[in-house]
Every structure is written in C-alpha cells, then in structure tokens.
Amino acid sequence: MWTWALRSIIAERGTMAASLSGIAMAFVVALSLDAIFAGETLGIIAYPTHAEADVWVMQEGVANMHMASSLIHADRAEDVQDVAGVSSVTPILYLNTFVRAGGEDWFSYVVGLPPQAERGGPWEVTAGSGAPEPGGVILSEVVAHKAGVELGDRVSIGELDLAVTGLSGGTFSMANTITWVALQDLREHMSAPRSTSYLLVEVDGDADPAEVTGAIMASRSDLHAMTAAAFVASDRRMAMHMGADVVQLMTVIGTALAAMVLAFTIYAATLRRGRELAVAKALGAPDSRLVLAVLFQSVILGAGGWLVALAMFAVGAPLLDQLVPDVSLVLQLSAVTRLAAASAVVIVLATLAPALRVLRTDPALAFS
C-alpha cells in the first residue's frame, strides 16, 4: 500500500517536481521574510548587543533603546559609580535623527561617546578611528559607500558639521544605522549640556549583574536599571513586535499558498488515479488505509517541499547577501520549527479534499 502510494507520486516526475517547486517557493517566501525580518531586528538591536555593558541604566520608565528616548542628569553617572559592585560607568547620549551625507538623509541612532570611553564605541572599525573626537563622526561603511563619502568628507547632523573620521561595519540595517559622535558635540546639538541618556555599567568581576541592577535602582528612584541580557531582550521584543504582524501574515499567506499547491497536486493525482483507487477498494483496501495513503503522499510532498525550501534558502541566502549586501538574512531555529509546524498544517489541510474524494470513490468503478 505504502509502496503504491509512494510510487504513484514518484512515477509522475514532472508533476512531482512542479509541485515540490511550488510548495518550496511558497515556503521560501515565508522563510525569507522571516529571515529578513530577523536580520533587520538584529540590526536594530546591534548597538545594545555589542555595547559590552553588564548593566544598562536609564531614565525611570524607559526599558528600550529602539523607539525610545532617555534623559538623565550627568551627575547620575557618579552616583551609580558609588554603588557597590560597580566597576566603571560609561555615559552615552543617544538621539534618533537623520545624518545628512552625500546629499541624502540617513535615519540613524546617533550615539554621543565621551573621550576614552571604555565601551559603547564601534565594535568593528573598517577605516579610520574608532573613537569619535570633537568635530568628527564615525559612519556606517554602508552609508558611506551609498552616500559616496570617504574619510575626511563632511556630513551634518542638523547644524552640526562633522568630518568623517572613521567607518564601522555591522552597523547598517534597512530600518536604521548607527553613527558615533563626540559626547560634547551631541550635547551641544541637543542643547543638553548636563545630560546623558544611558549609563553603560561594568560590574566587578565577582559581582552579580542582577544584584548590582537591584542595588542601583534601590539607590536612585529616578533611574531604571536592567541587566544587559534583559535590556537586549526587551529591545528585541520591541523590534519584533513592530513587524511581527507582517511576518505572521506572510507566514500565513506562504502556508496557504503551499497548502493550495499541495492540495491541488494530491487532488489531481487522486483524480487521475480514480480507477486505481476503485480497484484498490475492490481488492479489499479499506477507506481508512487509502486515506492514510493519501496523507502519506501529502507528507512526502509537504516534507519534501519543506526540505527543498531549506535547501533553496541555504543556496540563495549567500547569493542574496552578495547581490544585496544591505539586506541581512538571519535564519532562526524558531522560524524553521514554525515553518515545520506550518508544513504539518499544510499537509493535513491538503489531505482533506483528496481524502473526501477517496471516500466517495465507488469500488464498482473497477468493473466499468
């Protein structure tokens, strides 16, 4: 029975290839959107991920960097420094704004970094300096490339006229880019000479970041502190939340497409083999076994489509990365498992119509 079910779909190689391709393409669309979104999300949270802080301290009521702003008095850095377990504190000022480069505006997280900052600077310097000096700016290398600017060229942030002194890698996504300037310059630009946004805290070697976080919040009621892991997770949730609906919708559409292709293939095969089904019934095959055989065929095609989709993605993602370097694709295990679950749904849905056809097949047709 299983041999018959398997060979029935393998025998029609052209149909099977077309079906597998269709199912795989539908899955690839869903998978790619998820991967693009995941890649963009990683880009959005790149700064808190690479800032190398053990604890993040910010204004009370703030729990994110993405789509958030935080302003605290510069003196809070010294207050936090006095908390037990704190090894060092790096204040940064942060602003969501546009950087004008090459005649275009580039939306950016602009980070004001103090001189000799121990953390919070670019984690991959591809050209020039990694420490922003007054009057200087460190741009994303992708922005520089797209804008056609090089080291020494001028860019502006509002009224601030800055010289490009460094280029960074891994700091560009379709949603934002990261730019570093001197803390002093950004304070002037924001007319906030005694302000910082976040304090990047390094804890003592033997201190527990969670305990230090609690101690900081206990010492100052106007501050909110989070361990780096909690802060990054919070930022990721915020970033994901903003596009989750779109990704879910596309996953549903991709799944529905795959279900339709699979259902059509299995249904068409069931129709084509209507007489064989009748013969199988006449010979004594019970409906339950024949429905299971159809389900088995759906599993073969659905799982096959899923595997082909993964293979297509594995081959296509690096190519896309080369062709469109701005877009970063990140295939997450959760996306793969979610798609596997969707495949299971697709398989069951696609089996319904053919199964009904099987149940309605009259074994007496074998004599016709």
């Binding site: 029975m1 041999t3 004594g284 409906d287 009259d362 007496a364």
Partner: protein
C-alpha cells in the same frame, strides 16, 4: 456448511426511482458450488456486471440475500466488506486494472498487504504464483512493458495471492488475442479443477463456454440456465428474424403455440395483430 460457495436469493437491483427506475437485475436466484466454473453471458446492458458487482460485495442489492462461503454479505456491515473481499474474493478485470506505478511482483503483492500473514510467506507465494503463470522473468517489469496476456496473468496471480475461494472475472479475455484468451481461460480452468476454487466469469466470448461447467444467460435482468452450444433457432413471426428460443426473453403462448420474438416491439405488434387463439384479427 452447504456445498454451495455462493447462494443468491431473489436478488434485485434497481437504479433510480419512479419513472426513471432501471431494473438492472430482477429476482435472480442461483447457487454456485465449490470448484465450479460458471459462465454468465447475455447481451450488453443485461445486468451481468451489476450481478457480478453484487456477488463481489461491491454493490448492495435492492432486495434479496447473497451468502458467500456461509456469510450473508448483504447483511454484513459496509465496514466489514473490504476485509471479506480481501480474504474471500479474487477479481480479474477485462482491462487488467494493474497499478501502473508498480511492477508485476508489487501488483501481485498488493492484496497481501490487506490481510494478515508473514511478509516472507506472502513474498514466497507471490513469486511462486508468478513462476507458475510463466512470469518469472517479468517480475520486475511495470505493466506498460507487459503484453496483454502477461498483464492478465499478473492480474490472475493477484487474484489468487490471498488464496480466496472465489474468483470473479469480468470479460477476462475481452482485451486479449485468441491465443492469449485461450491461455487465460485454461489457467482459470486449471485453478478451478486443481485448486477447487469457484470461478464466476462474465463474458461475451463464446470460446469461454468450452471450459464452463454451467452457462447462465442473463437478459433484461433475468437469469436462466443454458447448456453450452445449445440453440433452438426459430423465426420471429413478425419480422422473420432468426431467434434462439433458449436465450429469447420475449415469447407468447397463443392458441397452444409458443411464439418467440426478437424484441418487445415485435411481441406487441403480434399481440395487436392476432386474436387470443392466434388467428389474424380482421382488418
């Protein structure tokens, strides 16, 4: 248990209802013994295949009972029928009806997956049957690489593989040349004689009569016995056509004379044109 493997009691099958009702089979009763070869013949549309489908448990009669090997299959639950068919009936079809994607051996093995038993035993029986039917060298061939005769022999092996007591064959020689048809009928004959299986064959092929123990004639849903090669040729008194009195279903007694007609139309004309004693009505 009686000697009869199949017993049909007043079987009727009506398709449709009201004015559109078609009586495919009318109150057919018959009994077929073990090891017997029974041929059911008759004109197209006479209900042969419908009758065969009912004997095979593929179709429920409108009324009447069918007892197969002691089991009343008309009273059995529908869900039980596949298992009964798999174990007790082997089917041979005119169009062979082999699974196109399977090899000859896999086709024969197919019904074995529907019954209990050891896989090795099933495989061995399959190979033995294919050997016996002269298909040892064709085991791994798909149906499209087999001749018509070979396909039908594979179908016979498939019908035999579960060792059923009954083989139902629908026009088994219908798509075969003379030599292949003869070979297939001799195989069926041997199966009945040597293995004691009951074989019911529906066919138009007069050559098959040679191996039949009994020939039944079905016309307009009614069944009657007819001895092989027995004909009684008479003239239709209306149209003059030669009619076999053994197989004719339209006849009328008038004035102590049995008149046989080729069709209902001639019978009605005769009725209109003659009086009750058979004399011509005055103009």
């Amino acid at each position: 248990m009686s000697d009869a493997l199949i017993e049909l009691h007043e079987i009727t099958k009506v398709f449709g209802t009201g004015h559109t009702a078609v009586h495919a089979v009318r109150q057919v009763s018959m009994s077929v013994g073990r090891g017997e070869i029974v041929l059911i013949s008759g004109p197209s549309g006479s209900g042969k295949t419908t009758l065969l489908s009912m004997i095979g448990g593929l179709l429920r009669p409108t009324s009447g009972r069918i007892v197969l090997d002691g089991v009343d299959i008309t009273a059995a639950p529908r869900a039980a029928m596949p298992a009964i068919r798999a174990a007790k009936i082997g089917f041979v079809f005119q169009a062979f009806n082999l699974m196109s994607s399977l090899t000859a051996e896999q086709n024969v093995l197919f019904p074995t997956t529907l019954v209990r038993g050891e896989r090795a035993h099933k495989k061995a029986r399959t190979i033995a049957l294919l050997d016996k039917l002269g298909l040892a060298q064709r085991r791994h061939h798909p149906p499209h690489k087999l001749s018509g005769g070979e396909k039908q022999r594979v179908a016979i092996a498939r019908a035999l593989v579960n060792d059923p007591p009954l083989i139902l064959a629908d026009e088994p020689t219908g798509n075969l040349d003379s030599a292949s048809g003869q070979q297939v009928m001799m195989i069926l004959h041997d199966i009945a004689r040597d293995e004691g299986r009951t074989i019911v064959v529906v066919t138009h092929d007069p050559r098959v009569e040679d191996v039949a123990d009994r020939i039944l004639w079905l016309e307009d849903g009614r069944l009657r016995d007819r001895k092989a090669e027995t004909h009684e040729w008479v003239r239709d008194p209306v149209c003059g056509m030669r009619v076999d009195a053994w197989t004719a279903t339209e006849f009328l007694e008038r004035g102590g004379v049995r008149h046989v007609f080729c069709s209902r139309r001639c019978l009605e004309r005769f009725e209109t044109a003659t009086t009750d004693n058979g004399a011509a009505r005055p103009e």
